[in-house]
Amino acid sequence: MKDIERRLGQHAPAEPRRPLSSTFTADTMRRIADRTRPSLSTRIASVIQGVPTMHKFTKPAALAIGLAVLAVTAVGTGYAALQWLQPHSTVDTNSITVLPNGNTRFWIHHDSCQGQDSDSPSNGYYEIKAGSKVTPEDLRKGIEAGCEDDLLQELFPETLKSAAVADFKPGDKQYQFPYVKIKAIGKDYIIAQGTYNGKRYPDARLPIDSHAKFYSKGQDISLQDFHPGDWVTMVNYTTELDRPFATETLHPDELEPLIENGFPRGTRIEGMIKRQYNPETTVQLMGVMGEDWTRLVEDKKSPDGWKQLVPFDHNWEHYNN
């Protein structure tokens, strides 16, 4: 036993070589702000009705209150209420999410919007900027105008059409999506490193089909637009060839071995929207790049900081031609 103690004493590990991130304090304070922000349901109540925040309620209770307030408001506003309840314009309250930056994101879906089919490009996620004084009437106009994006922007200037990567809670690291930083770019693959779920992956090789297209802010971008130091987030994938257009949220446990062992040949990294089906593709990934990501790179130590910037477009089929 003495020998073990001696060996332990002799072989103490080195001190940490890397100092704490210079943004540690700022990141911590921001995460605290995110973590302690009023819950989604509280925000529904406070944003829509202007009632004070209700920290003391549990989330389900506050949600119920928020929805009740919403319902009362709708009834009370007559025409607005009818519009609100029209089946062709619905706000999916389940999708309302408070983003780390304080914006509130919600989903609008048009089943049959002025003759357009359900794949209307105006379906999608919208964001209300933090602190905005958005009224039910604003929302109604926004929803009504949702068939025309330009009109929507005109009538609902504080609403930004945006996109979502997934439902996540501010500061919720358990459900954050994996992200890797590009170390090097080869002819048809990138080598990336990242930390995911507390584990560090120094050399994840991500093959990229050279014909894959990337899409960012309405512009096609190519592999050349990826640079070492950029971050890639991986979101959806398909594993079964008989479900070529199915997308699934990748469970962390399923992704880990892929990151660790490398992705199968033919894996596609796709920028935001473009979705291509390849029978040989066993994993579909979407990487997000673009000018708006500059801040992400700078803020690499703060996953919560960059998630808010993910400009993810939900509308696969719209860009699938």
Partner: protein, 170 residues
């Protein structure tokens, strides 16, 4: 350790949240190093340190200055966070090179690695007590405080950990 901490904490509890920045700045290095010696990974240590500060903030009302210094309370939270992390990941993919002193020769490095690998193979709480006792230099009492267990438990775990290490390294 600032003598003004109880007052500072009172201000934070009463709404002056920005004051918490002072506490973070004051203790972040200590918490980071504490976490590093437990998880043996700089990135994870930083994450755990941040997690500890966040948890401390959200439970600040529960802190009792009469029972412990703020730093002690903070390290207790950090220890718990690290232990949870160790349990979650079981064996962190330790970058062995990261833990080795750069001025060692090849033979010494091999021996170091052998010991570190053996420690890494221990179950989380054994690994934690070994790290904190032999490498961080804490006393039994301090470790017991940080782990919120009786001193006897620490002694027992350490004994069993050494026994397992002996078998692993023999």
């Amino acid at each position: 350790m600032g003598t003004d901490e109880p007052e500072l904490i009172a201000h934070i509890i009463h709404g002056d949240h920005e004051q918490y920045r002072t506490l973070v700045d004051r203790h972040k290095q200590a918490v980071y190093r504490h976490c590093f010696y437990i998880v043996h990974d700089e990135d994870v240590a930083e994450d755990m340190a941040q997690e500890a500060f966040i948890r401390a903030y959200t439970h600040l009302r529960q802190y009792d200055p009469a029972k412990a210094q703020f730093k002690t309370w903070l390290l207790t939270i950090a220890t718990r966070a690290c232990l949870t992390q160790l349990r979650k990941t079981k064996s962190l993919p330790l970058d062995a090179e990261e833990m080795l002193s750069s001025d060692l020769n090849a033979e010494q490095r091999a021996k170091d690695r052998e010991v570190h690998d053996a420690v890494r193979g221990l179950q989380p709480r054994y690994r934690l007590v070994v790290s904190l006792y032999y490498w961080r230099g804490y006393s039994y009492e301090e470790i017991a405080t940080y782990m919120e267990v009786p001193v006897g438990s620490v002694r027992g775990w350490l004994h069993r950990a050494k026994k397992q290490l002996k078998e692993a390294l023999s």
